[in-house]
């Protein structure tokens, strides 16, 4: 198919080449389907690879290094003066992004997935129009997978201007470290990037409308994280509502405090991270009978089928946890269902990670959720201050907590806050999917010295037989 031709056909068209879309396209091709992958932007990989997970983690790692070398005094390390060449750092990050997006292109071409660039709009439930600068053409299909993802929400009173008021995308490519940065929204994106710039030298203030950070987060975890944010000199203003940006001689964000008082926070850059909205508006969904909820997320069943026959939706655009690994799994389910296999999204849990300092991660039910679902629970906790490995990493903040059914002792959930706890979630999630009991984990040898030993210790604490801490 060439761009500019009037029409073409395929078995399955996938709209959006993010983690959901490209995985769906690859799996469909592996299953013998003739696939066209439509992507609006010139680069594949979606938000995750281009302006999300990957670039942010690159900056986070660099910021961590910069911070640590300046705080190694107790270990006898000192640096005379650390310089941060932000353009060079951004270039390094861009190199990673290019490698990964190039990898996706390579996989598409090797698997016979045809990639076209342009924005898609459904004409009927069996055809769509792709528009780009080169013109318009039509694609006819048998099934379609919608994987258009989500984008940053903008507040009408604080529209992005690309320089002073920015979104996370721009925050990943700043050319200089702002002296004063205000982050609006204490969700995971705001906290991650706020931490990056605090470590690179910005004075960071986080403004949050709600009385808590990251709604639904385990209370003990939130407490530990807030303590650390304070140590990093990040100012947290809960119960404060962002009103407007005053771009005068003394640029500041105007906020309303809990008592209705107006406060001006000096800011060179304001980064907005107040939520994400699904990209469903211009797809022509209503015309083909694809229903969305009141926020615009597409309604699907466990086979990822939308409300119109032959139309599937995956990833951020269907709501729930807006996470790449959720999209991966949904993509595989949709592809296999299309290929006639009896797949369904029946996972026990979707683990989640926040790359703050320290990292926050969880899988399964939190204590509050377990109680809400009627479980009588037992918990066990291990604090990293008692972990040999954490001490050697000079990272003793945080803990890991196991939550289990008090009667059966089946593991229900794991929450953790601490250095590198993101890497502990693979084991926790496997345990949950396998339906593990506390004893299964307690009787499993964990390598020493690692952070993962803490999981075993937490589980043994829940069983009342911890060795490296005093049992309650």
């Amino acid at each position: 198919m060439v761009v500019g031709s009037v029409s073409s056909g395929c078995q399955v068209v996938v709209i959006g080449a993010g983690p959901g879309g490209y995985v769906a396209a690859l799996r469909l091709a592996q299953l013998g389907k003739d696939v066209i992958l439509v992507e609006k932007s010139p680069r594949l990989g979606g938000v995750c690879l281009n302006v999300g997970c990957i670039p942010s983690k690159a900056l986070i790692h660099a910021a961590d290094l910069a911070y640590e070398v300046q705080h190694g005094g107790a270990m006898g390390l000192s640096v005379e003066s650390l310089s941060v060449d932000l353009p060079k750092l951004v270039k390094w990050k861009d190199g990673i992004v290019e490698r990964l997006t190039g990898g996706v292109e390579f996989l598409c071409s090797k698997n016979g997935v045809e990639v076209v660039h342009g924005s898609a709009r459904f004409l009927t439930d069996r055809s769509l129009q792709v528009s780009s600068d080169d013109g318009q053409f039509e694609i006819q299909f048998e099934q379609a997978v919608i994987a258009t993802g989500s984008s940053a929400m903008q507040l009408p009173n604080l529209p992005f201007d690309g320089e002073r008021v920015i979104g996370s995308t721009e925050a990943l490519s700043l050319q200089a470290v702002p002296k004063r940065m205000v982050v609006v929204g204490a969700g995971y994106i705001g906290l991650e990037l706020g931490t990056v710039y605090a470590k690179l030298g910005s004075e960071v203030t986080v403004v949050e409308f709600l009385p808590e950070i990251v709604p639904g987060l385990d209370r003990d975890v939130a407490k530990a994280l807030q303590r650390r944010l304070k140590k990093l000199k990040i100012k947290l203003m809960l119960n404060h509502r962002a009103e407007s940006f005053d771009d005068g001689d003394d640029p500041s964000l105007v906020v309303t405090g809990p008592d209705g008082d107006e406060i001006r926070i000096p800011a060179d850059v304001v980064m907005m991270s107040v939520g994400r909205i699904p990209r469903t508006k211009d797809l022509g969904l209503a015309e083909i009978g694809v229903e969305t909820d009141d926020k615009g997320f597409i309604n699907v069943n466990e086979k990822q089928q939308a409300t119109a026959p032959g139309i599937y939706a995956i990833g951020d655009v269907v709501g729930g946890a807006l996470l790449a690994h959720k999209a991966y799994q949904e993509a595989k389910v949709a592809a296999e269902v299309i290929a006639g296999e009896p797949a369904a999204f029946d996972n026990v849990t979707i683990p989640a990670v926040i790359y703050t300092d320290p990292e926050v991660a969880w899988a399964g039910l939190t204590e509050a959720e377990a109680v809400e679902q009627g479980y009588e629970i037992v918990t066990g906790r291990f604090d990293f201050k008692a972990s040999g490995r954490a001490m050697t990493l000079d990272a003793t903040d945080g803990f890991i907590k196991a939550i289990a059914d008090a009667g059966t002792k089946q593991l229900l959930g794991v929450v953790a806050v601490g250095r590198g706890v993101s890497e502990l979630m693979g084991e926790a999630t496997l345990a949950l999917e396998m339906g593990a009991f506390l004893e299964d984990i307690g009787l499993t040898i964990h390598p020493h010295p690692t952070m993962s030993e803490a999981f075993q210790e937490a589980v043994e604490a829940a069983l009342g037989k911890a060795v490296h801490q005093v049992n309650k």
């Binding site: 969305t292 409300t307 999917e433």
Partner: protein
């Protein structure tokens, strides 16, 4: 205001059916009680009437699809009303209850669920097994692959779960052993299979066979047949057997009963509804003659002709297939010496009528040719002893062998 008509609970024990055909199209104006569609249920093909007058806005299920009680079938609006086309209007209260076709609601991704590993869960989907219905044999009730495989092949596996699409049905495929044709099971076949399996698992079947000399009965029947049929209709021997059966059932009420095991009680029926097994091209159907004790033989003959005819056309109403108290299966015309019929649950006995044949028998020391037949009875030995079965059959055969005796009891 649009109204969604869900598949109603049309009768005892019926929870699923198949849409045979739609009798109306989208856009059609329907009157109250006008038939909307034909549904094949466990027992019959029934027409579902429209509960109200209006315009058919949407048919929610295509023909040939399997439906469960409560599934949305059709949306009926006021005359002239149309389905809103734009997305916003769809959120209107009238249509909120309409589930999308062939959709299940978005899954709850948390909450309690059967204890099974991802591999086992995948296997269950492949084999169409609902894990919620499987008892796990592993530690703490964990469901193993073997449990799933057992559930998939077990007789209690729900037949409504669609099998994975291995190969399109009705297609001949080559295997190493030769050609195999895949023929889809009809709904009726699945229902019969379920009923037979349940009966065999439920009752302690025992079959008792007795011989009857029907020479006199046959002569008597011959002598009246022409005259009776001259007034129209068809007259067979079956009404004689029904009358004889009802007479003996009155003497032995346990054969016209069901058992409520939970309450530990026998329910002796004081009415005599005799099921007649009818062989149809699609399979066995058992219409019921209600109140057989109160009908004369001519009425019975007419009713048998009518019910059997409509059974073959699949036009029986559900109420004509329910409520039997004892069943007759007339296998004789098809050949065979005798058979061991399976009890029609929840009844306790079924009587088989076998071939009438001229046979040499000894009467008063002489070998003579008589019209002979075997009658069999399968009964539930849990509640009826063998001696009782023998007595029952002796009396039944007595009435059949001596039509005069039967007359005396009518």
């Amino acid at each position: 205001m649009a109204f969604v008509f869900n598949f109603p609970d049309v009768g005892e024990g019926i929870h699923e059916g198949r849409v045979v055909e739609w009798l109306v199209a989208e856009g059609a104006v329907v009157a109250e009680d006008q038939p909307l569609l034909k549904v094949e249920t466990d027992k019959a093909v029934v027409e579902l009437p429209s509960p109200k007058a209006g315009t058919v806005l949407k048919l929610h299920v295509p023909s040939d699809s399997v439906i469960e009680v409560g599934d949305a079938l059709v949306t009926i609006g006021a005359e002239g009303e149309s389905l809103p086309v734009d997305g916003e209007a769809k959120d209107g209260p009238a249509l909120v209850a309409v589930p999308p076709p062939e959709q299940t609601p978005p899954p709850s991704r948390t909450g309690r669920r059967p204890l099974a590993t991802p591999k086992t869960r995948s296997l269950a989907r492949k084999l169409g097994v609902d894990l919620a219905m499987v008892k796990g044999s592993g530690s703490a009730g964990r469901i193993t692959d073997e449990d799933v495989e057992r559930a998939a092949s077990a007789p209690s596996a729900p037949i409504s779960v669609p099998a994975p699409k291995a190969a399109p049905a009705g297609v001949t495929a080559s295997t190493v052993d030769g050609e195999v044709e895949r023929v889809p099971l009809t709904h009726l076949r699945k229902v019969i299979a379920g009923a037979m399996r349940t009966s065999k698992q439920t009752s302690a079947h025992v079959t008792h066979v007795e011989e009857a000399d029907v020479t006199e009965l046959f002569a008597h029947y011959r002598s009246v047949k022409t005259e009776v049929e001259s007034k129209g209709g068809r007259f067979t021997l079956l009404p004689f057997f029904i009358k004889a059966l009802v007479t003996v059932l009155k003497d032995y009420p346990i054969f016209n009963a069901t058992v409520d095991e939970e309450a530990a009680e026998i329910l002796l029926k004081k009415y005599y509804n005799i099921g007649i097994a009818v062989d149809t091209p699609e399979g066995l159907i058992v219409p019921v003659i209600k109140g057989a004790d109160g009908k004369d033989m001519l009425q019975l003959a007419d009713e048998i002709t009518d019910l059997a005819g409509r059974a073959r056309e699949r036009k029986l109403g559900l109420d004509e297939l329910k409520g039997g108290t004892c069943t007759i299966t007339n296998i004789g015309p098809l050949g065979g010496v005798f058979a061991t019929p399976i009890i029609n649950q929840p009844e306790l006995a079924i009587i088989g009528l076998h071939k009438i044949q001229d046979r040499p028998v000894v009467v008063d020391g002489e070998i003579v040719v008589r019209k002979m037949m075997y009658l069999s009875i399968s009964f539930d030995h849990r509640w009826i002893d063998g001696a009782e079965g023998a007595r029952f059959m002796t009396d039944l055969v007595g009435l059949i062998s001596k039509p005069g005796l039967l007359m005396a009891r009518l």
